[in-house]
């Protein structure tokens, strides 16, 4: 079975690395972008099954990035990651497919990805 491709967008390299390793353990093909801008460029060239976006990023936050990706009409699942939990209620207005609160425990994220890519 062909490996599913996941793009991680996070300005914190350690966090990005951690997520990458965790997802690679699950058998995903993982790539990292350090900013929204970089991510949009990468998406132009390369097709991903799923993108995780950190909301709190300098220059362009995760929500904006998600909106731009949707505008590109790419067939891709989007998960928003945040340290805050209070964005949850506005989810419907966002372009994302899911919302996951960051934490040292990655079981919730893994579960969510699994469901979205089923």
């Amino acid at each position: 079975m062909k490996k599913r491709k996941v793009l991680i967008v996070d300005d914190e390299p350690n966090v990005a690395l951690l997520i990458k390793e965790e997802l690679e353990d699950e058998g995903y093909d993982v790539k990292i972008c350090k900013s929204g801008k970089e991510a949009l460029e990468v998406i132009e060239k390369e097709k991903f099954d799923l993108i995780t976006l950190d909301i709190e990023m300098p220059e362009m936050n995760g929500i904006e990035v998600a909106g731009k990706i949707r505008a590109m009409k790419k067939d891709v699942k989007i998960i928003l990651l945040t340290a805050y939990s209070h964005y949850r209620s506005d989810l419907s207005s966002w372009a994302a497919d899911a919302y996951v609160v960051k934490g040292s425990d990655f079981s919730e994220l893994k579960e969510t990805i699994k469901n979205l890519l089923r």
């Binding site: 350690n14 709190e56 939990s85 209620s89």
Partner: protein, 927 residues
Amino acid sequence: MIMEFDLEKFILEITRVLVFRDTEDVFNKLSEIISENCGALSSSLMMFEENRKLLRLVGTSLVDKTWVRKLKIPLSKFENKDFNLLLGNELGVLKGNPNNLGIVFPVIFENKLVGALFLEVSNRKDLEEFEKVFKGFQEILGILMVFLMEQTELKYENIRLKLIESLDINVVEVEKIEDIFQRFLERVSRILEVEYTAIWTFESENLVLKAWKGFSENEIINYIVPKDNKLLDMINLEKPRLIIDKDSFEFLKRLLNLKFKSVILCPLYVDEKPFGLIMLANKIETKHYRPYKHLDEFELSMVINSSRKLSLLIENFINKKKLEELIETQKKQIQKLNAVYKIIQAMNYSYDLNNIFKILLIGLVSELGFGFDRVLLLLRDKNKQILKGKMWLGISEDRKDMEIYEKLKKHLSIYGDFADYLRQEALSLDLSGYLNSNLENIQINYIGNDIFERVVLRKALVNVQPQLIEEKRNELYQLIKILGTDSFVCIPLTGKQEVLGVIIADNKYSQKILSESDIKLLKLLSSSAGLVIETRMSLLEIQEKNREIERKSNYYERLSKFTEELLNSLDAAIIVIKTDGMIIEWNKRAEEFFGKTREQVIGTHLKTLGTEFAELYDISASVYYKANKGELDKIYESDDDTIVLNEYFLSPRYGKYFNIKFTPLRNINKNTFDGIIIMLEDVTEYRNLTRELQQQEKLAMLGEVAARVAHEIRNPLTVIGGFANRLKKKISDDKSKHYLEIISDEVKRLEEILDEILEFGKDYETVEFENFDFNKLVREILELYGDKVLEKSTKLKTEIPEKEIIVFGDRKRLKQVLINLLKNAIDATNRGKIDIKVYETDKNACFSIKNNGKPIPEELKDKIFMPFFTTKTDGTGLGLAISKKIVEDEHSGKLYLETGDDWNKFVVEIPKKGVGKDEKEKGINSG
């Protein structure tokens, strides 16, 4: 023939007789009945007249009634004789046949003789029989005769009353006293049926015939009773006299050419003094059982009564006349008083001093005023101590003066109002005649002049008469020469303090004399007129003073009103005390704050109002003390003489905080302090608000900081935790694995804390409201945590109604609150008891959770809801703060703690209809 006497028949017939009104007829009828019933030939009835001691024939059965009322038998005729005795010839007139015999029976009633019955009989032998018969009806006859007699008496009584009544002459209607006499005589002669009547009265020691009735002037021989006439002696009689003796009328016949038969003479006394005589002469004969030929005791007694009445009438008349005269003089006085008033009124209306003088002079000269012939006005020169002629008005030999005088007199009738007259005439008064031509020459040095010193210096009105000035003639020589008379009146014009001038008024030509009351009125005029003149003299000055006073009073009034309003409109209570502690001001707000009215506390000592006030007083006293310690100047210049106590908790009684300001009440002039102004401002609400605000600000800031910190920590924590987990999987060394396990757990705990902090800092814009069953929510939580309760051997008692309680709110957030409270209760209870109750009120869904255990102390009750406050060793101390935020800020409900001896109870009240943030704001805006 003697018949059997039938009493019943007799009584029946008698009652019929009583129908007759006329007494004479009654007695005749009665006689007929008696003779018929007892079989006598005739019978006659006689009545006993006690005052004359005689028996008078009042009725007979004989056809010839000539003797009725005329025949009388003195009682003395029966004396020493048997009463039943035959009276023979003496009573022959009572026998139809001279050959018959007559018997007299006395009629006795109640042991008193009332009359007699005469029976004509033919045989002497019948006497005894008749006596028997008479005894049969003598009782009824006695009653009958008394009754008829009383009826007669009644008739006399009627006459008496009628006479007295008729003599009620209304003196008010009577013009002359002779009219009273005339009316009196008319009535007396009519009612008593007297032929001639007359009244003499004294007129300057002579007795004069004043009124008469029954004869004409032609019969009068002498109107004035000659000094030797016996009539004059009659005046001294105490009682009226009845004269019947023909020879005794001589003295009357010398006065009146009349034929006298009987005369009553009655002296008339008025006010206990002899006033005159009343004469009644001759009776007019009328039809009656008594012979009205002569006047007798009855008329005599009537005259006594009537004369008294007449005396009263005369007295009344005299009094009336006196009263009328008195009223007349009073009227004149009132008119003059009115004139004085009008003169003053006219003077008051005038502003020009000369006009005022003229008004006064015209008033004094005018007939409606005092009617003086002349009035001279002198004004006082205080410096030179002289009186100087100013104006003169009145009668004089000069034609011009007389023209002026006559013109004034003529014009008097034109004006309806005397004051108008005075004002108008004063305006056009021409004083260019002789009287005013040499006024400058009239100068009186009043010092050393006895009379004028009295007038000018002692303000006395002096009526100068020739006899009065005899010795002082030299002093007044000049004035008397000018006036041409030595009787005049000096009227001072008196101001408030001193005499301004003098008016000299005289009646040189008319020689009229001033009355006492005129002098009184002049005095009145002199002071009133003086005041008017003085007022005008200093009019401008007074006007200016008045204006100033008015300005001042307005200013003070406004100032005091302003101060009062200011004091009462203040939100602060103002108490002003004197330096001795007495309260002198206590405004409306003070009344409200301390529940004592102004009236209650003004004048009392501040210390007496209670300990808290004593405290205020002590502080006040320290301010005062400082001020009097010789540091006054220093304090005065500085601004720090006001003591301010901020948010001072005066007394638990009021539960209020005050900002209290003490300010000394300065007396700038004396450089001292008069008292202290204490201003108390209720800042309780303000204090609570600021405290709440501070709290909220603190919390908001805390939340913000916490959130920022949490966010910054979150990522590194995620990395640490994440890699530790990864390492754990890769390492096989058990010890290392265990260490990594610890790191991982501690990171997890840190993450939980971060979650809570983030939760607390979260903006409640993100709450999601929905309708849900509050009961169901509670049951869910109990299912989740029920085991935990049991773990701690804690008894759980729940009371949840079956019926659903629908609440509009954020279910998840409220769930968090309830979990929080349950967790806390479980943690706080060991082998204890937890009571959970769900109930609803009109507005709210309520949840209460009670656990036994040590109660939270009072002072911590508020603190436990503050963030990071905890009594537990674990936990963040944010649980209750978050819960409070969710319940109160997000749901507009209430979360509070109740405590008992060994329990704590948290209560949650959530509005069922859901009042979110928007509604709350709306509420605030609209409120």
